[in-house]
């Protein structure tokens, strides 16, 4: 039985549905990240787990016990808010100890608990200050301390780092990973930053339009997405999508034609009944820039360079193909990018196919299309 089980959960405000039939199981100690575009329902789902939001239908169970009707504080969850939500009129000690004081613990117990947490988060010197006298990163640590001190079964984070500047965000991210390793507690983390999601997650849950699009280890989602949304959302820069006009069965595979204009290619894919139009998904690193002259076998495309992003070790080249399709290609330091148009070679062994409904078309014989 999973540690935290979300089963057929839906949520609607009046007639407006926000979450639809969410099924998700989370193991003890896992670091789970909910990621998705703004308004897709991540916060709502998190708040339903915490108990701050009611569940319209379905059940949420923690350690086998359905918690739908259990008070937030009794669920053993603790939450860190994007706004930190520290109590401005209390000292840091008062903030961290608030939950313990509400539970009527003894003074000695509270003091030792707070001291322990302050040690973990390096808050010792700040305990007598008030939230107004702290920096953003320090406030964030206090908010985490307030969650840790209650020794919850599940930590919930709602975009905790989005108010921090880029450098601090990277540092806090590392601290969070370290914290997770030390405490070993289940953590659920909401973000709409997919880089944050990739780096933190044991299990990444991509959401969109009130549904879970796919859940799994970040690299699985990167390499083997279930649909076009996940493929496009995970990875930066984004995956390229090439339109394909027709698909015809051929011996041992399918023949594609009308790829981004008039490209043709043979795919050794066991997919009887597959008909076009479809889309080919290709990561920027699976496209090669060819020297201006020379001929090789395979699928070639030609594109006009619109932008080159130099990142030092590598660069990303943005191109427009003849039919208007936009492409992003990764190039190494040694690539010659001086020409206004570039010839691209496409490695179809990494190509993913998507139907026009956005679903992934998988090979029926092998694991990869």
């Amino acid at each position: 039985m999973p540690f935290l089980d979300i089963s057929s959960v839906s949520k609607s405000y009046g007639t407006q549905g926000v979450l639809e039939n969410i099924n998700l199981s989370i193991e003890e100690g896992e670091f789970v990240v909910f990621v998705g575009p703004s308004g897709c329902g991540k916060s709502t789902l998190l708040r339903m787990i915490s108990g701050l939001e009611t569940i319209s239908s379905g059940t949420i169970a923690i350690e086998g016990k359905v918690v739908n009707d259990i008070e937030p504080a009794a669920r053993g969850t603790a939450m860190v808010f994007q706004s930190y939500a520290l109590y401005p009129h209390m000292t840091i000690f008062g903030n961290v100890s608030f939950g313990l004081r509400m539970a009527r613990n003894t003074k000695e117990f509270i003091a030792s608990k707070v001291a322990q947490v302050a040690g973990i988060l390096q808050l010792n010197k700040l305990l007598e200050r008030r939230p107004g006298q702290l920096s953003g990163g320090q406030k964030q640590r206090v908010a985490i301390g307030r969650a840790i001190v209650r020794e919850p079964r599940v930590f919930l984070f709602d975009e905790p780092l989005s108010n921090l500047d880029a450098e601090l965000r990277v540092q806090m991210r590392a601290e969070l990973m370290d914290l997770h390793r030390r405490l070993g507690t289940t953590m659920i983390y909401v973000t709409h930053d997919q880089v944050e999601a990739m780096t933190l997650a044991d299990k990444m849950v991509v959401m969109s339009g009130g549904r879970v699009q796919q859940a799994g280890p970040p690299l699985t989602l990167y390499d083997d997405p279930d649909n076009r949304f996940v493929a496009g959302f995970v990875g930066s820069p984004k995956m390229n999508f090439l339109p394909v006009k027709t698909v015809e069965p051929a011996s041992g595979g399918v023949q594609l034609s009308g790829i981004a204009g008039n490209g043709t290619a043979f795919l050794p894919l066991e997919a009887p009944g597959l008909i076009g139009p479809i889309e080919i998904g290709l990561r920027p690193e699976h496209i090669r820039i060819l020297p201006a002259s020379g001929s090789e076998a395979g699928l070639f495309l030609e594109g006009r360079v619109t932008l080159i992003e130099e990142l030092g070790s590598e660069s990303f080249v943005h191109l427009d193909l003849d039919d208007g399709t936009r492409m992003t290609v990764r190039a190494g330091r040694d690539a010659d990018l001086s020409a206004p148009t570039l010839r691209l070679a496409i490695d179809l062994s990494h190509a993913l196919l998507f139907g026009i409904d956005g679903d992934r078309i998988r090979s029926q014989s092998g694991p990869r299309a």
């Binding site: 915490s50 108990g51 701050l52 937030p72 504080a73 009794a74 969850t77 603790a78 939450m79 808010f81 994007q82 706004s83 939500a85 520290l86 109590y87 401005p88 009129h89 608030f98 939950g99 509400m102 539970a103 307030r146 209650r150």
Partner: protein, 281 residues
């Protein structure tokens, strides 16, 4: 901070002149009162106005006489109890109701709040007779609770506190809920401290209002034992009073002192409170 000094323009001079003029007009009656009180009995007061008091001891003697030989001291006590009980009630009921109205949703919330706001617009003169009848039917005439209870729920106070509590972030309330605070504990430990300034302001305004309230005490208590300062001063002022002008002035001055003191002590809080209403807790 750098201090930038600029030469005063004609406008600043005019503004200041006007402000000083208004202040003088407002202060003069009080100063005149002091003048009359602290002078020998029988010294002419109205014609040829004197601008300075002449005798400290004579004034102190008048105050002593008022406190020891009239009902004044008891009235002071009654007024004080009346004000303190009213303040306690207004703050308690106002903050409890404001907590619910501003931070939680419940059926009928908007309508109820609308009705309360509407009651702000009804003049006291309209409600005072029904209130009197109700109080009298309860048998509360000539009692302290008859005096206090009708003033306990203040629509204005509720409105003001709601404005303040609306500014308390929802996240903070939810954080407290997750921390295991009960509904009342959230009110007590989070909402109340966060609108402390508003509470102080409301307390001061309520004090001023109750202390200066003349009509209701007059109506509800006919027995001299329950007279408030306002009523006693009214007696001094009445045409049949056998008090001399300077004694009447002394009574007036003594009545004016508590609100003045209150205001001077809490002036900064009042300004802060009014300025901050609705922006932050």
């Amino acid at each position: 901070m750098t201090v930038v000094t600029t030469r005063p323009t004609i406008w600043t001079v005019l503004k200041w002149a006007l402000a000083i003029l208004i202040a003088l007009i407002a202060l003069f009656p009080i100063w005149w009162m002091v003048n009359v009180v602290f002078s020998m009995p029988g010294e002419p007061v109205s014609l040829n106005p004197r601008l300075w008091p002449t005798s400290l001891s004579a004034g102190i003697e008048k105050i002593r006489v008022i406190f020891t030989e009239t009902e004044y001291l008891r009235a002071y006590g009654i007024s004080l109890i009346y004000a303190v009980l009213t303040i306690a009630g207004v703050l308690t009921f106002g903050s409890l109701a404001a907590f619910e109205f501003s931070l939680f949703d419940f059926p009928g919330r908007r309508i109820l709040f609308g009705i309360i706001l509407l009651s702000l617009m009804v003049p006291t003169a309209v409600t005072i007779i029904p209130t009197y009848l109700l109080t009298s039917q309860l048998g509360w005439l000539n009692t302290m609770h008859g005096l206090v209870v009708p003033g306990l729920a203040s629509a204005f106070g509720l409105f003001m506190l709601v404005q303040f509590m609306r500014a308390v972030p929802k996240d903070m309330i939810e954080a407290a809920r997750l921390d295991g605070a009960s509904h009342f504990q959230i009110y007590w430990h989070i909402a109340l401290p966060l609108c402390r300034n508003a509470m102080v302001t409301l307390a001061i305004l309520t004090f001023m209002q109750t202390w200066g309230n003349y009509m209701w005490p007059l109506i509800v208590s006919s027995k001299p034992q329950l007279y408030t300062v306002g009523q006693v001063v009214g007696l001094f002022n009445s045409p049949l009073s056998h008090q001399t002008v300077d004694m009447v002035m002394t009574a007036n001055l003594l009545a004016a002192i508590p609100p003045l003191l209150f205001f001077l002590i809490f002036q900064r809080k009042i300004v802060e409170g009014v300025a901050m209403s609705g922006t932050k807790g």
